[in-house]
Homo-oligomer: 359 residues x 2
């Protein structure tokens, strides 16, 4: 356990002081910003997230704005997902690929207006890519990072809590829908999105002066809901099969290899030609391990005797499911049910490939 | 003080286990990799660096290779620095700008061959930028990240230590020169570069299997030189006026504003037109503060009474110079000698603008 050295280069968020005060014990760095990683410990945080409601500082989801006459055309050029039916007021999960089909990022894009998209970055170098494509392709757009920081409200009681602050109408938002809802006289964008399987919202705060009042309001009205500061939870997201860019996929993997086949709907995008002729002999799958598992800070070889079947990309111990839960990139020679061994830095762990994730 | 959560996404280096074992107490994340930030504490590390020799894990200086027929043309297109006299065997510090003249990165580029450059990245999104420019401009090059991790040897005894491992000839390397020197039968690239003012080398390890043998060899032959594991030192680099991309400059500042005027030698590069017409009313300068100064993890306003003169970008307490040493972006209305106040998160500190850095 080593501390994270702080500096200007690793950007604080509008809530970092509040996150510290709420008892954050570990951070990671995401898009060169501070992202809380633990409060009461991953297990305690996980159980609470599944039971109550948490407020997450996810300012590190930097928002890249594509605005102007050609915003739609550029957005469609960037992703193999067909965006023609994504109307203003809707979000879409959009894999973005390089020319060779490798995954550059897997953001959620929000169509804010006919000619404006907000791209919510996973941890990766996407902003300059979009700027470069816009310039190289002669698109009539402005590309810039918005002065916006998202705050997530996640958990089964997120509906109740968010409705208390923004009004009951926010509870009618469909999954991946968004709208503007009033907080203290300011119409804020609230979307039904978030990096957990427990449901909830993301609130896009557009002025620093509103950040702490919103945080405080959520805690003030949520005491009976047992609201706590939280963060994306490693256990919960693996149980639910939610992928993490940088962990479970990099630019060395295609959407097909990481289970995003259904989002590859057109080939007239960057990387489309490569995706069209793509053939792969591996895919991500759930891997059940005997615990306890150490911190997965490197790729663990997955072995079948002397043969290498692939590698684990993320892992954690799940109290709910009583095992180590993991995600692995596995050769197609191995099918669900296969018994394998995962070689961790603390030694081998018996494991089994699974058809589905746990939750 | 909070811990750094480890994961696959924040890449370990070939030396992370050794760095942990050597007593690293704090890390930062740099180019999405682990970079040690402290061993015995910044002050103790600083005094030792100035007296003896340290081995630094700087694998986070990712190496982007530009290779092929048009490597030279692309490299020159990327930077306003004139590279026509940089021959193979030489390194050059190359500011790289966006179209608007803002700084994208300030790498050291190594001309490995007539048609091959290695670009040693500061913390920023440069690889995709180079790939995009290569594709958009139709340059006949390959751009990729090398399987190379640099290890730095820094300090007044670096010459002695490095010579013991690579042979006395390495001591003849001129500043910013490099060559291949033998380690255990392998010819490794060694350059006379590094992020300190104490002198030394960077060694470019091209295979993981050689990483720990080299580390161990440096410690085995350096015991009498008091060799220790170390890392770029915040105090030493500010005393010497060494800038840090992400702290002291971002893409919102031009080379002129951060004191890199002398590297702007041509305007036929990306950003050249903007640089040509650039007029600015601010520049980076040394700021002497009354200590103790807190951790500079945000921009501190620099005030002259009610007027804002600029902001501090980096700061630390210097034992050698008996003051807080800082770097600030200051409006040209204020000249060296001016008395100002720096507003830190722990309260105001009397300060004075300086003509020069300390070392």
């Amino acid at each position: 356990m080593t501390t994270l050295a702080r500096s200007n280069r690793v950007r604080r968020t509008w809530w970092t002081d509040a996150v510290d005060a709420a008892g954050c014990t570990a951070y990671t760095v995401y898009n060169r910003m501070m992202l809380p990683a633990s409060f009461g410990g991953t297990d305690v945080d996980c159980a609470h997230l599944k039971r109550a409601v948490q407020v997450w500082d996810v300012a590190c989801e930097r928002q890249v704005v594509i605005a102007g006459h050609d915003a739609d055309a550029l957005m469609q050029r960037l992703t193999p997902r067909d965006l023609s039916r994504v109307r203003p007021g809707r979000c879409a999960y959009v894999p973005i690929c390089k020319n060779d089909g490798g995954m550059l990022n897997d953001p959620v894009a929000m169509r804010v207006a006919e000619d404006e998209w907000w791209v919510s970055l996973a941890d990766g170098e996407l902003r300059l890519w979009i700027e470069g494509m816009a310039a190289a392709g002669g698109y009539s757009v402005r590309v810039f990072e918005a002065e916006t920081q998202p705050l997530a409200v996640q958990g089964p009681l997120a509906n109740e809590l968010t409705g208390r602050v923004f009004g009951a109408a926010v509870r009618d938002l469909p999954f991946f829908g968004f709208g503007r809802y009033d907080f203290d006289g300011i119409a804020m964008i609230v979307s039904r999105t978030g990096y957990s399987k427990q449901g909830g919202f993301e609130i896009f705060v557009e002025e620093e002066r509103l950040a702490m009042p919103l945080w405080d309001a959520l805690f003030a009205v949520g005491a009976d809901l047992e609201v706590r500061a939280g963060c994306p939870n490693l256990v919960e997201r693996i149980e639910g099969g939610m992928l993490s860019y940088g962990n479970d996929m990099t630019d060395a993997e295609t959407p097909f290899e990481v289970g995003l086949d259904k989002y590859v709907q057109r080939y007239d995008c960057i990387g489309g030609a490569a995706l069209k002729r793509h053939v792969s002999d591996r895919r991500l799958m759930a891997v059940e391990m005997e615990g306890p598992v150490p911190v997965c800070d490197r790729r663990w070889p997955v072995m079948d005797g002397e043969r290498r079947a692939g590698h684990v990309t993320s892992a954690a111990d799940s109290i709910e499911f009583g095992c180590g839960v993991a995600i692995g990139m596995i050769d197609r020679d191995w099918a669900p049910g296969a018994a394998v061994t995962v070689e961790t830095q603390d030694g081998p762990r018996p494991a089994r490939l699974r058809e589905n994730f746990w939750a």
